[in-house]
Homo-oligomer: 539 residues x 2
């Protein structure tokens, strides 16, 4: 067989030559839309690759971005790995101190940033970044911050790369840091090979099921683990790619999906809650929308039901981690469930599903043995596969290769607690850190949250452990009510809960908040909530 | 990223653990059905792998099969590569002389054969095969030929392999010979990596679109290039796999598809003509059947139309070669064609489609330049990619590594003439060599001509394809007699030919001419002859 490396440039060349007229659409800050074709994108990436080399970017160098989902960010997704360098997507929601710590650790040399992040970018220059290029959405005009290079001027002046260089497929292509909910963020270095295989797998019918006829919108930011692989999958399939630009709210996403005929969109549950509000508020239903993928956090059943019943849209759940490029599992009902009613399907639809091909899972109890496949016995979810990290990025000047505690015996220890049933469905019970230990028994905060969010008045619910003298820990529920909803009493909520969880799981306290704190990746910041209500000693 | 090899055993372990209760169904000779689960198949493959090692099969050894599509053949598909050996699927339709030549070239050490091939197997023993195992369909009973081992006895006595060994993913897994149209058959050695990537690609929505809910029936024999990858794809997706056993006719295939709820089936156009006849003859329509893939030869538009209009089944065409594992392209209408009527879609549906991801194509004119993407200008179709052969298998005791003419500059020269249009659709126009495609098999006109010209009365012989409703093409022989020779009867010529070529290669018609038309370079002008005897409609 030919020794052809699995390189990301192959995906873009494919899109540019076999699907040349298909579009990449970007929502600009003024709400207007920028359009370019895949063949135009290929030509611009050739120019950008030339410009990177002319800027002095060498193979292995880290090139950082601080940017929203735009066609320019997409061009960097392909051009930086094309020249053998590493695209480091910085999370724009991180605190300044975290950003500089991460950029220094990564050794970022050049930064491509939307000008709104000028303050953070200045800090990054102090952290060692040598040059900054003003990115922003295309055609947005406006002046660049002082001392920044202009993206379009760079492209206009560059000599396009005629033929993309060949690299070993294990060459690093992208670097992304974990959200660091428990400790310091850690870098995960994705190879061309890992991303190429991940792209094939997520596009499968039992993955996201993506093809040329799809119009794909990553609502998930491109600074999150490869936007879940969707920019690469869109190029591979020749699909139309719709990029929602800066700070889209629910209404903006609905309008964009409607105008562009989006068929598949992906984002965190919070985004789909916002979109649901916008739809209920009277925004026109996007007629072509078939499926949305809700990931990054457990998806409440109420959300799945609302989309199906009110809007005829299937919510596909799954499971991933930054360490998995990031998708590890996608959830679809099996063929034999075709006749099941929604009640019977509900626990399936809100499970994490089944691993993608070549992702291997095992669920291991505390004594190191695999748990029975009974859908009941919990254990730690461990994974391995060709797009699973084998270690964390060591950073500039640090010793590399020291195996982290998360990587042992060739398996990644995810820190998630899960069960596996006889049909191969994995169900997350909780994060190891989010489990509530009450009187020697485990309480799943996630299951209580899902049950609470079924209540029509509840918009969001987070359940955390508070220290208890008698039981060690007891659950406390933090509730955000839906706008305009008739507020229920705590007693009413608890009475409702009884139908869904054991009585000793019932939270001892229910507090109503105006908003829940979220992490930079949009998850409930339970660390903050715990600290607020019951400082727990570090484990 | 973890260094996890792409091995075929991962696909089977996946099927056995995540889809344990799903079935592999085999049609037996008496028409009854044998069923086993994927978890049962995994366990039997562990036993078979143990048995192979106990038989003395070592990594790199070739293990041949002469068998129909059965669960035992499937077990060999996984067990032989699992122990690092090479599965060599012999084409049961080859003439005895061809079989022994190929087996000797391959250096086959062990043969697993259905007992009906006892005569051929005896010849293979002379060609160096050390041991023969009687395979047949499961539970078919009957006595094994003398000196053959019994498959079930081997499994019963073996020590199952607990954990499949790890191999480099570039390790050879399967060997298949080309049909040897212009000259001797050539061996193509597939690696685990190539087959794994091929499996991912064909399962994509714009490939065959395969998922867990599918019931997949390869009507294409498992002795043809990996049965087009479907046994591996069924394992990867957890689909039900339906194997039609020995010599299924159209009616048997229809009944099998109906009883098992087949959703996707694949075979050569001749098979689909037979199935169409059976359906028209009153066999019950298989209610679950959504799509059939028709490949191995150009699919007539009438066939596509008949399935759609009469039976509501979509015929998906494509293009492949033994050298491509074998699928290179699959044809689907694009999203923008959604509103097109059937007349406008027809040329799209009968084109070869668009290359799968990571398959790169170029169409090159005689001067070596790529032709314009205008859908008009023909050139030679050349391909490259990670599941494209980079050379042919050299065989036992031969020098290896000498690059063949088909492989130059890293591209495989396919010998097919094609056009490429602005949307990336490839259309086969003609063939560089005048091969005759009969029922999905190749007939070499050159070899028949050479055999005919051995007859003392024959001065010149040209064999051309004439259109045939059932077989697409059949050979017609044009003979110029030697002056003064005693003219033989057509029957006498054909009887003579039988010694040299398979019986199904025998020309359907023999015509005597005073002279053959020649081209300027002295070659037979076959285009002229074809036009005279069977004007072929332009596609």
């Amino acid at each position: 067989m030919m020794d052809r490396a699995l390189l990301l440039t192959r995906l873009l060349e494919r899109a540019g030559t076999l699907f040349p007229a298909k579009a990449v659409v970007t929502r600009l800050r003024d709400g207007s839309l920028h359009r370019q074709t895949w063949s135009g994108t290929l030509e611009r990436v050739r120019r950008l690759a030339g410009a990177l080399t002319e800027l002095g970017v060498r193979p292995g160098d880290r090139v950082a971005t601080l940017a929203w989902n735009t066609s320019r960010h997409l061009e960097l997704y392909f051009a930086v790995p094309a020249v053998g360098a590493v695209l480091h997507t910085l999370n724009v929601r991180l605190a300044p101190g975290q950003l500089t710590r991460i950029a220094r650790h990564a050794g970022d040399r050049v930064l491509f940033a939307d000008p709104e992040f000028a303050v953070a970018a200045r800090d990054l220059r102090d952290a060692g970044v040598e040059g900054i290029v003003a990115l922003d959405g295309p055609d947005d005009g406006g002046a660049n911050p002082r001392g920044w290079l202009d993206y379009e001027a760079l492209l206009a002046a560059s000599t396009p790369v005629e033929a993309f260089p060949e690299w070993d497929e294990n060459q690093a292509a992208v670097l992304c840091y974990t959200s660091g909910t428990t400790d310091d963020p850690k870098g995960v270095l994705y190879s061309h090979r890992a991303l190429a295989l991940h792209t094939l797998a997520i596009a499968l019918p039992d993955g996201f099921g993506l093809g040329e006829a799809d119009v794909i919108m990553p609502a998930v930011p491109m600074f999150h683990a490869n936007a879940w692989g969707l920019p690469f999958a869109a190029a591979m399939t020749g699909a139309t790619l719709v990029l929602p630009g800066a700070r889209p709210d629910g209404a903006a996403l609905v309008r964009l999906m409607a105008s562009e005929g989006v068929t598949f969109a992906a984002g965190v549950p919070t985004v789909w809650l916002d979109v649901l509000e916008a739809l209920r508020g009277g925004e026109a239903r996007p007629g072509a929308l078939r499926r949305i993928h809700s990931g990054g956090a457990p998806t409440p059943r109420a959300l799945v039901d609302a989309y199906r019943e009110e809007w005829g849209v299937e919510v596909v759940t799954g499971w991933g981690m930054t360490e998995l490029s990031p998708v590890g599992m996608v959830c679809h009902p099996r063929g034999f469930m075709a006749g099941w009613d929604q009640e019977r399907l509900a626990p399936v639809r809100t499970s994490q599903g089944t691993p993608l091909p070549f992702v291997e899972v095992r669920i291991v109890s505390e004594d190191g043995a695999e748990v029975p496949r009974d859908g009941e016995t919990p254990g730690e979810l461990q994974v391995r596969g060709p797009w699973v990290a084998g270690g964390y990025f060591a950073g500039e000047g640090e010793a590399s290769g020291a195996p982290d505690g998360a990587f042992r015996d060739g398996w990644l220890r995810t820190g998630d607690v899960a069960t596996l049933d006889a049909h191969g469905y994995v169900r997350l019970v909780d994060r190891l850190n989010d489990l509530i230990r009450s009187g020697g028994e485990w309480i799943s905060s996630v299951r209580i949250e899902n049950a609470l969010m079924c209540h029509p008045a509840v918009a969001e619910a987070a359940v955390v452990a508070v220290v208890d003298v008698r039981w060690q820990e007891r659950p406390l529920a933090c509730i955000v009510l839906r706008t305009g909803a008739e507020p229920p009493s705590p007693e009413e909520l608890l009475a409702d809960l009884r139908a869904h969880v054991p009585s000793w799981w019932l939270p001892d306290r229910v507090v109503f908040l105006d908003a829940l704190p979220h992490t930079a990746t949009g998850k409930f910041d339970k660390k903050e909530l715990r600290a607020r209500f019951s400082p727990r000693p570090a484990t």
